[in-house]
């Protein structure tokens, strides 16, 4: 589970009904959140803040970020920067 101790915490969407979703914060902690602000599907990770999902976590972008980190660490020659 990707844990971010912060104002907004990622949680997995378990079920959806109108503007509400049941989300899993990991380790079985389920909570109802309002999904008016996002277009979330079951199985998506959403960022939850004060009872509202404020964004869908983009798994592809997350992997891109890791790829970018690895490129910076491995490819860029340190002496020439």
């Amino acid at each position: 589970m990707l844990i971010v101790m912060c104002l907004a915490i990622p949680a997995k969407v378990i079920s959806l009904k109108e503007d509400k979703a049941q989300v899993d914060f990991g380790e079985g902690v389920l909570r109802e959140v309002n999904v008016t602000l996002v277009n979330a599907k079951v199985g998506d990770y959403v960022l939850v803040h004060a009872g509202y999902a404020i964004q869908v976590v983009d798994a592809k972008e997350a992997l891109e970020t890791i790829k970018l980190w690895n490129e910076i660490l491995q490819v860029e020659p340190e002496a020439n920067i």
Binding site: L7, N34, H49, I54, L73
Partner: protein, 358 residues
């Protein structure tokens, strides 16, 4: 897939730290400012400052919404609570001092003050007790304001109104950028505010102020990469806006949230505790939603309050001019158990975070 990512890998952190050293200038100090209490938590909790070169300083700006809420707005909530209105707030607002007392003090005097997790829970409470008047003290930056907007558009019950205290972050960053004696070299922009507002509002910082600006996430590696990206921009002398937190922040932000906020709020000048008046930095309810404005409904309006208690240095801590440990009250007269300044109250306050770490 997401579970397996390496946002907290200590070995990776060490490698990024090493990389940071390679792009740090040999002479002079680099001062980077973040404006989010959660960034401060990550930096302090994971000891990230110890990984940075001695001449790279990361300071905490006014990124704690509870800390910057002026005493006058707490005073209004206290007045309503003492008048018999049920006041609802987020947990870390309870102990923040107004001019004379906090909402917790009002509660001790018998007022009905309730903590809620979010505005939806507040509305539900009001629905269950239709004979009582309820007011929600809506504090928070752009991350929180959309939830207030949604609840207002959903037409809460007649016994419910709001003290809207939401603040807008970029104008406060502008104020810091213009403080010559602060001499900032770069900004780590707040990840979750950016989730809502996107990247565009930060363009002014590299363009007008020549300051590298990187939107970063909240894991240790996110913050370290943010610092690295800023230092690299400085080294190349090409200040620009970069996004390290692309997994939740897009260029345009959450447009649905922006649209709903625009429907409900207008932007006005606002007072920030410790910073004074900042142009275009506060959300106010639009006229058509005036029936939900607790100021009008309950005839309460406090213009000025006592923001900084005697001896408190929150106004300097909040812009990173001094460290919490440089305040004479820190962990002496002012502790998490008995806070004097707002920065010691909220879990996002710099003093509170440092108190926990010491």
């Amino acid at each position: 897939m997401i579970e397996k990512l390496r946002f907290r890998d200590p070995e990776l952190a060490k490698r990024v730290a090493k990389k940071i050293h390679t792009v740090t200038p040999k002479e002079g100090t680099v001062k980077i400012c973040h404006v989010c209490g959660t960034h401060e938590w990550t930096i302090t909790h994971f000891g990230l400052r110890n990984l940075l070169p001695l001449n790279v300083e990361v300071i905490a700006g006014p990124g704690c919404p509870v800390c910057v809420t002026p005493a006058s707005e707490i005073d209004e909530a206290v007045q309503l609570a003492l008048k018999g209105v049920v006041v609802m707030c987020f947990g870390d607002v309870l102990r923040v001092s107004g001019s004379e007392m906090s909402l917790l003090d009002a509660k001790a005097k018998g007022a009905d003050v309730r903590i809620v997790y979010g505005v939806s829970d507040a509305v539900k409470m009001a629905q269950k007790e239709p004979k009582k008047d309820f007011v929600f003290l809506a504090i928070g930056f752009e991350t929180t304001a959309p939830s207030t907007a949604v609840e207002i558009l959903n037409k809460p019950p007649n016994n419910f109104s709001f003290l809207v205290s939401h603040r807008v972050i970029p104008p406060a960053m502008k104020l810091l950028a213009e403080m010559e004696d602060l001499s900032l070299n770069g900004f780590i922009a707040p990840g979750h505010v950016s989730t809502i507002i996107g990247l565009e509002p930060y363009e002014v910082f590299p363009k007008v102020y020549g300051m590298p600006t990187v939107v970063a996430g909240f894991e240790p590696i996110d913050v370290l990469f943010g610092v690295y990206m800023i230092l690299k921009q400085l080294r190349e002398n090409k200040p620009r806006l970069e996004n390290e937190y692309a997994r939740v922040v897009s260029w345009e932000g959450n447009m649905k949230a922006q649209e709903l906020m625009q429907k409900v709020f207008s932007v006005a000048d606002g007072n920030w505790r410790g910073l004074g008046n900042i142009p275009s930095s506060k959300f106010m309810l639009n006229r058509e939603y005036a029936s939900y404005d607790a100021h009008l409904k309950h005839d309460v309006n406090v213009e000025h309050g006592i923001d900084i208690q005697h001896g408190c240095k929150c106004h300097l801590v909040i812009i990173g001019k001094i460290k919490p440990t440089e305040c004479p009250l820190f962990m002496k007269a002012c502790t998490p158990q008995k806070p004097v300044g707002a920065c010691m109250v909220s879990i996002e306050g710099t003093c509170r975070i440092w108190a926990k770490a010491t």
